[in-house]
Symmetry: C2
Subunit: 230 residues, 2 copies
C-alpha cells in the first residue's frame, strides 16, 4: 500500500479532466473512446481522461490526454461543464472538468497509450463507465449549440473540402436535412469561404467545387458585428 503523503486540513476532492474527442468521417460524427484497463469499470468503454496535475491547468491536462490518444497538438479544446455528482466514482470523491475537442480524422495517428481506443458513431455508443454517457450527451448538445454560431465545423473537415461535405457535416451534427441550393446560397453569402482551386474549365458537373475556410475574413466580419447563424 502506497503511502498517503499529501495531507490537508479539510477534505479535498480528486480532480480529473475528461475529453470528448469528435471527428467526422464524411458521413457521421465519431467519438473516440478508450477501453478501461483497470477497475473501477474495468473493460468498459470510457472517455479519455486523467487526473489534473498540480502544475497544469485543466485545458493543459485535457490537451495532454488528447495528445496521448491522437498525437495532435494544436486543435480546438474547450471546457464545457464540470461534473460534480457526489457518487460518480466509487473510489473517492472525484469531480471532472469535461472538455470537447474537434479533430480531423485524417490527421489522427494511433495513440501511444497501451489502452485500446476506437472511434464510435453517436448512434452506436456502447455502455460507458462512470457518468460518461451523461458527459457525452452534454458534449453533443454543446456541439450542436456552438456550430450554430461559431464556424467550428471546419475543424472537423480537411482544410480543403466540398460543399456537399460541409453540408453533410452540418446535417450530421444538427440532425436535420437542408435543401442543397439553400445551403449553398447561405454558405456562400456568408463570405467566409474561399474557393480553394481554380475549377478546371473542363470539369464535369460531377466534380464538386473545393473550398477552404477563410478565418481572416470571418474575424474581420465578426469585428463588424456580423453574427453567424444556422
Amino acid at each position: 500500500m502506497e503511502e498517503k503523503k499529501y495531507c490537508y486540513r479539510y477534505p479535498h476532492p480528486a480532480v480529473t479532466t475528461d475529453c470528448v474527442i469528435f471527428g467526422f468521417d464524411g458521413v457521421s460524427i465519431k467519438v473516440l473512446l478508450v477501453q478501461r484497463g483497470i477497475d473501477p469499470h474495468k473493460g468498459k468503454w470510457a472517455l479519455p481522461g486523467g487526473f489534473l496535475k498540480m502544475d497544469e491547468t485543466a485545458e493543459e491536462c485535457a490537451r495532454r490526454e488528447l495528445c496521448e490518444e491522437t498525437r495532435l497538438q494544436s486543435t480546438t479544446v474547450e471546457q464545457f461543464h464540470t461534473f460534480t455528482s457526489v457518487d460518480r466514482d466509487p473510489r473517492e470523491r472525484v469531480i471532472t472538468i469535461a472538455h470537447y475537442a474537434l479533430v480531423r480524422l485524417s490527421e489522427v495517428r494511433g495513440g501511444d497509450d497501451a489502452a485500446k481506443a476506437e472511434w464510435f458513431s453517436l448512434d452506436e455508443i456502447p455502455c460507458l463507465a462512470f457518468d460518461h454517457d451523461r458527459i457525452l450527451r452534454m458534449a453533443t448538445a454543446r456541439l450542436k449549440e456552438r456550430i450554430c454560431f461559431e464556424p467550428i465545423g471546419f475543424e472537423l473537415l480537411p482544410e480543403i473540402f466540398t460543399m456537399p461535405e460541409l453540408q453533410n457535416l452540418y446535417e450530421a451534427i444538427l440532425e436535420v436535412k437542408f435543401d442543397r441550393r439553400n445551403f449553398y446560397n447561405k454558405m456562400l453569402k456568408l463570405g467566409i469561404l474561399t474557393e480553394a482551386e481554380e475549377r478546371p474549365k473542363n470539369a464535369s458537373r460531377r466534380i464538386p467545387c473545393k473550398y477552404r475556410f477563410n478565418a481572416a475574413k470571418y474575424k474581420e466580419l465578426k469585428q463588424k458585428g456580423f453574427r453567424l447563424e444556422f
Copy 2:
C-alpha cells in the same frame, strides 16, 4: 496549528464555487460583491463563494452561498466555467467552479453573513480579489449570450412588469438600444407574454400595460422547434 488529517496518495487541489449574482434595478445590471474579512486579499471585494463540501454538488454549494447572501432558495443558478489557473490562490492550488445566479432585487433580503455585501453596477466594479474580475467578465459575457436565446431575463424582473422595463433590461444586458415599437412587436409576436391585468378602460396612456412571462407557452413553443432570438 490545526492538524492536517485528510491525506491522499496524490496531491489534490482545493475546490471552491463562486457565484456571480446578477440583479436588475430597472436601469442597470447589478452584481453582489462581498468584502473579504480574511487574508488573502483581506478587505478587497470578491464574489461570494466557498469551499465545496464532500457531500454536496457544485450547484448545491453555489446555492448555499447564494442563500447565505440573499436568503433566496429557488432561483436560476447555472455553472458556466471552471477556473483552474495554477496560481489563482496564494495559499494552495484552488480551482473554482463559477456559477451565475439571477435574482429579483425586490426579493433579496440581507444575508446572514457578517461580511459586508453590496450591489455594484457593472461600470463601477472595484478592484476584485483573486481572478474574480476575469470570472465576472466571463459571467457577463455568458449572460449576454444566454439572454439572446433563452428567456432568462424574466428571472431578473418582478413577476409582473411593463414593456419598457423589459426593454430596459435587454438594453442593459446587451448594451444596445432598440427601437421601442420594434421591440414591442417582436416581444408580443413571440407569444411568450400574457397580459397581467385587464387594462382599465379609463387607463391613461401614461400607464404602461403589464405583462407576465408565460413559461408554459414558452415550453410548448420550444418543443415545437421554436427558437428564441435577439
